[in-house]
């Protein structure tokens, strides 16, 4: 009887081991229908960059968050902060998702240093404690509204938009300046420098709702702001779009 029990036990253990080995090692189920969470780290990072770029295009934070969630990143903030150093779109997304660590204009390095080497990572990596908004000092740069001009309707304008430029007193564009915009669809925060091919100090906002807008620098110490009323174009073919140009200038 004992030998029977022994044979039963040995048979079951050996059979289970053979079955598991076959399923896990010898003939594992083929890889199919993988999800983003299973991607290699380098692909996940590339997807983060693409999600940030998509957010820069459509401004839809909810969609961006849902996409990032699908990646299953263990530390989203750290990943975004790391990538923010070399990627303005990631920096913008990081600022939108984690505003407490967003840099303020006063923490932004000088334009020359930004153009020479991407030093934004140091800003974006700051902990919430160290990234607290600095108090104003007598040396803090001041900005003024230099222009808020309705450029009118034209078929040359691809979309209804507000084009924002931030410049030094010598006309040099200033990247990485936080812009706050309030409008019919609520508040938005974004940065200059995302379209360096246009101008280092350029940022734009694609208008999807007509009405009153207020645009200013995000730094609470700065009170320069532009108030405008954005109206649609009454073109017969619907091909014309309006653009407003807003320019902020840093005082010498």
């Amino acid at each position: 009887m004992r030998s029977l029990q022994f044979a039963l036990l040995i048979g079951m253990v050996a059979g289970t081991a053979i079955g598991l080995s076959t399923a896990w090692l010898i003939f594992p189920s083929p890889l199919a229908n993988a999800e983003w969470t299973q991607l290699r780290e380098e692909h996940k990072r590339d997807l983060v960059a693409m999600i940030a770029a998509a957010y820069a295009v459509d401004g839809n934070l909810t969609v961006a968050q849902a996409r990032l969630f699908r990646l299953g990143l263990s530390d989203l903030q750290a990943t975004l902060s790391e990538q923010a150093g070399g990627d303005p779109a990631s920096a913008r997304l990081a600022a939108a998702l984690f505003p407490e660590t967003a840099p303020s204009p006063a923490t932004v390095p000088s334009p020359s240093s930004v153009q020479a080497t991407p030093t934004r990572s140091a800003v974006a990596r700051s902990s919430p404690t160290t990234a607290a908004r600095p108090t104003a000092t007598p040396r803090e740069a001041r900005y003024r509204l230099a222009e808020a001009l309705d450029l009118g309707c034209s078929a040359d304008h691809p979309q209804d938009a507000i084009a924002i430029y931030v410049r030094a007193s010598d006309g040099q564009g200033l990247p990485w300046v936080a812009i706050r915009l309030g409008g019919p669809r609520g508040e938005d925060l974004f940065y200059t420098g995302l379209r360096p091919q246009v101008d280092p100090g350029y940022a734009d906002y694609l208008v999807t709702a007509y009405g009153s807008y207020e645009i200013g620098l995000a730094d609470e110490e700065q009170n320069a702001s532009a108030k405008l009323r954005f109206e649609g174009c009454l073109s017969e073919d619907g091909e014309q779009h309006r653009v407003w140009r807003v320019i902020f200038e840093r005082e010498p």
Binding site: M12, A17, P28, A34, Q38, R40
Partner: protein, 117 residues
């Protein structure tokens, strides 16, 4: 039957077969192999389409056709330009919110076709 089961060899063989079946059931059904560190080529169809969509939007943002090609090539498709165009048409046909997505994909498909940036 009782006599048949009195042989340890037979009982052991039967237990071996049952154990193997149990092992296969567990190995394939209950706890199948989970893959990590996969490449985009291994993604499911919906996940690949979501990936393509992002490539299109990223291309709208940076205009980098070489990078878009590199990303699409990771999907391992022979003619990704056709796939992008097909996806653009699908999104364009949807009456909801994603018209801009269709535009981004169309722009990418057009750039892929013309081969210019």
């Amino acid at each position: 039957m009782r006599e048949w089961l009195s042989s340890p060899l037979r009982v052991g063989s039967m237990a071996l077969a049952l154990g193997a079946a149990l092992g296969l059931l567990i190995g394939y059904g209950v706890w199948p192999v989970e893959y990590t560190d996969v490449d985009p080529i291994d993604l499911s169809q919906p996940e690949q389409e979501a990936y393509m969509l992002l490539v299109g939007q990223a291309f709208t943002y940076d205009g980098d056709l070489a990078l878009a090609r590199q990303r699409l090539a990771a999907l391992g498709r022979a003619d990704y330009g056709v796939d992008v165009m097909r996806l653009a048409e699908e999104y364009a046909a949807r009456p909801d919110k994603i018209g801009k997505v269709a535009t981004a994909l169309e722009a990418l498909a057009e750039a892929l076709r013309s081969g210019s940036q």
